[in-house]
């Protein structure tokens, strides 16, 4: 039956995440963007929320929470409302942990998951995006060639979060370049593996506090047991859908941050003797921002609820992701506009949200629910 109501548990989780975002993340956001460093205590406190450890089975030291894409989307929105870069950093270990949890063999789960069932933040990473303008998750140029009992991986990756710190990186590669999406595999690769080089830290337009790296894979040889899911492989479509839901949910959070800031400003700032919010040209911008934020969230929830029911959500998550990429940019841009010249100055956060929002049309696979 159709319902737009969160469960009591979801409301509680949302409130916790929201409080954390407002009290811990937001105050650190600007300085982190300028310095590129996220305060260690914010990362540590975020870890204590169980963002990663929560879903790890109790036998591996986790809390054994049932994963829900809807709940995950709600949390992702709230954290990104605080700050996108910090949110992405705190959730990054999921990029390795969740696919292993969901699709790994028991040996793979055994070797990876206990690392995340501990009291302190442990980096984890996945490498999906490639440094090409026509990069497409369903047509990867990174190739894994079977060679006897091992795979040899060749290719280049970029925007790999926390790669320099993660002991292990999940590298996505095409087993056969013509096979399209069904042919994508994940390989659990040690950072120190021969043939794998990690670049200097990347410099991007936004989400500057998130450490990301380029990866070069040249004759990078891994054992057959490194293939996620072993002989069965992975359901890459589902992993992408989960990622798209997470990214779209975070776009909603960034948009809401920009909207709320602009709204408050518009009621205070006076021009021609009256608050600018009393002018329709400004008020209507805010109204449209509000509509688009709600529309985006509903699209995210729809896709997420399909995932929770175990249904295919390729189309829905893709729609939500593309919509969110547009709407969050529009909202952030309007927010800068509402602040006028002041919006352009780094004293206010709206310019940062504009830079961050642009990421959603460009980046894939750097978050998951």
């Amino acid at each position: 039956m159709v319902s737009f109501e969160l469960s009591d548990e979801q409301k509680m989780i949302r409130d916790t995440a929201a409080a954390f975002a407002i009290e811990q993340i937001r105050p650190a956001a600007r300085a982190a963007d300028e310095s590129g460093e996220i305060p260690a205590d914010v990362i540590a406190k975020a870890w204590e929320l169980g963002l990663v450890r929560g879903a790890i089975p109790e036998s591996y030291g986790g809390y054994g929470d049932i994963r829900s894409a809807v709940t995950g989307a709600i949390v992702a929105e709230e954290l990104a409302f605080g700050d996108l870069a910090i949110a992405l950093h705190t959730m990054a270990p999921r990029l390795l942990a969740y696919p292993v949890l969901e699709m790994g063999t028991s040996d793979q789960r055994e070797s990876i998951l206990p690392r995340f069932g501990t009291d302190n933040f442990v980096a984890g990473a996945a490498a999906l995006v490639e440094p090409r303008f026509d990069f497409d998750p369903s047509a990867l140029a990174t190739i894994a060639r079977r060679d006897g009992a091992s795979y040899v991986i060749d290719g280049a990756k970029c925007v790999v979060p926390l790669a320099a710190k993660a002991e292990t990186i999940l590298v996505y590669a095409a087993a056969n370049s013509d096979a399209g999406q069904a042919g994508v595999d994940g390989f659990i690769v040690a950072r120190e593996a021969p043939g794998l080089t990690i670049s200097e830290r990347e410099k991007n337009m936004g989400i500057k506090a998130l450490e990301t790296y380029e990866l070069m894979l040249k004759d990078c040889r891994v054992g057959a047991e490194a293939r996620l899911g072993a002989g069965k492989g992975i359901n890459f479509t589902r992993l992408m859908s989960e990622s798209r839901v997470a990214m779209a949910a975070m776009a909603t959070g960034v948009a809401r941050a920009a909207f709320e800031y602009a709204r408050t400003y518009a009621k205070e700032r006076k021009a021609f003797g009256v608050p600018i919010a009393t002018k329709q040209a400004v008020a209507f911008m805010l109204a449209e921002m509000a509509i688009e934020i709600d529309a985006t969230r509903l699209l995210v929830w729809e896709a997420a609820s399909r995932l929770d029911k175990g249904e295919d959500a390729l189309k829905e998550s893709y729609q939500a992701r593309n919509y969110a990429a547009q709407s969050s940019l529009m909202v952030a841009d309007n927010a800068v506009q509402v602040l006028g010249g002041h919006g352009y100055i780094r004293e206010h956060p709206v310019e940062m949200w504009l830079r961050n929002a642009r990421a959603f049309a460009v980046l894939d696979g750097i978050a998951t629910v």
Binding site: V2, F4, S7, P137, A287, D294, S305, N322
Partner: protein, 409 residues
């Protein structure tokens, strides 16, 4: 729990409405677009007969903002579903269906229980009837509080004078059936909106004349009437609610509240028209073997894919906002903000979707051999009536900024 899935029983109902749309509306859609002002009697009779055989809940087609206790039934949401289906069939014919309409909604919202029974029971018996609501005047539309039509008390009667325009189903309600028109008039100009009251004017009341039926861009199967009230005398108890100008409740405010219920329905109308166009384009692309590659990087999509996917997701976004607004009403929550969000989004989105459909299909879209051009003409009204795009943005802006209508206008 967040859920967007309709139960099998509901889907069966939706399917039934879809059959009506496909089998009874589509075949006459073009005909009554071309023959503006002619009456699709057969269709009306069939729809009337169908409404008579339904249960009491379904019969009172007019939705009300009143909370019915938040029972398991999602009446407003289901009305949106059936509306979408029927408007997928034909939005003009949908608006022409004999029912209590907006007039009925006003009676339900502002009338006493006795008045509701007295005025609405006719829709459960006899020949097809229409209800209509007349607020708009030549000098005021969006500013509905500026109505100049007057109501003066004389003994046991009210005497109405003024001109109303753009009254949907006005002709059938005022002269074509045993229906009624709910006329908005001021009992006291000085009292402003508090002085504006709704009056039920029965069909064929002397002094009420339909002087003109408009020729329109679209929804041509629906009559849009200009009604002149000249010393139109009606019984005192035809004023809905209370005459007291100090008591705003029972008057303007109540009927403004019906918009919270009707705006999601207008949004659903828009969505029905938009889906008609979208389905047509989808079929066309399939026939021409143009695949939609969902999941592909948007940078690698063709413009046709991008356009189509954009239309599709915009329609879905509008639908989700609409469902939410209707669902909130069903749960007894205040949905004033969400209803305007749904209406503003759907009105705009569907206007653009249908325009894009004509563009994508080229001469096929522009040709009157197909219905696509008609859907583009039909769609536009949804961004105008029940509050224009701008008026809905204004309502949203007031709500999110916590401004009164004095502070933001």
């Amino acid at each position: 729990m967040i859920d967007f899935e309709l139960e099998p029983q509901v889907l069966k109902q939706v399917e039934m409405y879809h059959m009506v749309a496909a089998q009874m509306m589509r075949p006459i859609s073009r005909e009554y677009d071309e023959k503006e002002h002619e009456h699709p009697r057969q269709f009306w009779d069939a729809m009337w007969a169908a409404s008579q055989s339904l249960g009491p809940a379904a019969r009172e087609a007019a939705p009300s903002g009143k909370d019915d206790g938040g029972t398991a039934k999602l009446r407003n949401l289901y009305t949106c579903l059936s509306t979408e289906e029927l408007c997928w069939g034909d939005a003009g014919l949908f608006l022409s269906i004999p029912n209590p309409g907006l007039g009925g909604a006003a009676v339900a919202a502002a009338g006493t229980p006795e008045q509701r029974e007295r005025f609405l029971r006719r829709f459960r018996e006899g020949q097809p009837k229409w209800g209509a609501m007349a607020i708009t005047e030549p000098g005021c539309g969006s500013d509905s509080a500026a109505v100049t039509t007057t109501a003066v008390r004389e003994g046991d009667s009210w005497v109405l004078n003024g001109t109303k325009i753009f009254c949907t189903a006005g002709q059938m309600a005022a002269e074509g059936s045993e229906g009624f028109v709910v006329v908005w008039a001021t009992v006291d100009r000085k009292a402003g909106r508090a002085g504006i009251k709704p009056f039920v004017v029965e069909h064929n009341t002397s002094g009420m004349t339909v002087v003109r039926v408009e020729n329109k861009l679209g929804i041509r199967a629906s009559d849009t009437a200009m009604i002149v009230l000249e010393n139109c005398r009606i019984p005192a108890d035809h004023l809905l609610g209370k005459a007291d100008v100090k008591q705003e409740a029972g008057g303007f405010k109540d009927v403004m509240a019906t918009f919270d219920a009707t705006r999601p329905i207008v949004a659903a109308m828009a969505i029905g028209v938009g889906r008609a166009a979208l389905d047509f384009v989808r079929d066309f692309l399939e026939q021409n073997r143009i695949p939609m590659r969902y999941g592909l990087s948007p940078r690698r999509l063709t413009t046709i894919e991008r356009d189509f996917m954009e239309m599709e997701v915009q329609l879905k976004a509008a639908r989700l906002l609409t469902w939410r607004a209707a669902w909130m009403l069903d749960k007894g929550m205040r949905n004033n903000l969400e209803a305007s969000m749904a209406k503003a989004k759907a009105g705009k989105a569907v206007t653009l979707i249908t325009q894009k459909a004509v563009e994508l299909l080229g001469p096929v879209g522009y040709s009157r051999k197909q219905l696509v051009e008609k859907w583009m003409r039909d769609a536009k009204i949804n961004d105008i009536f029940e509050g224009t795009q701008q008026i809905n943005l204004l309502i949203i802006a007031r709500r999110i900024l916590d401004y009164s209508s004095k502070e933001l206008n």
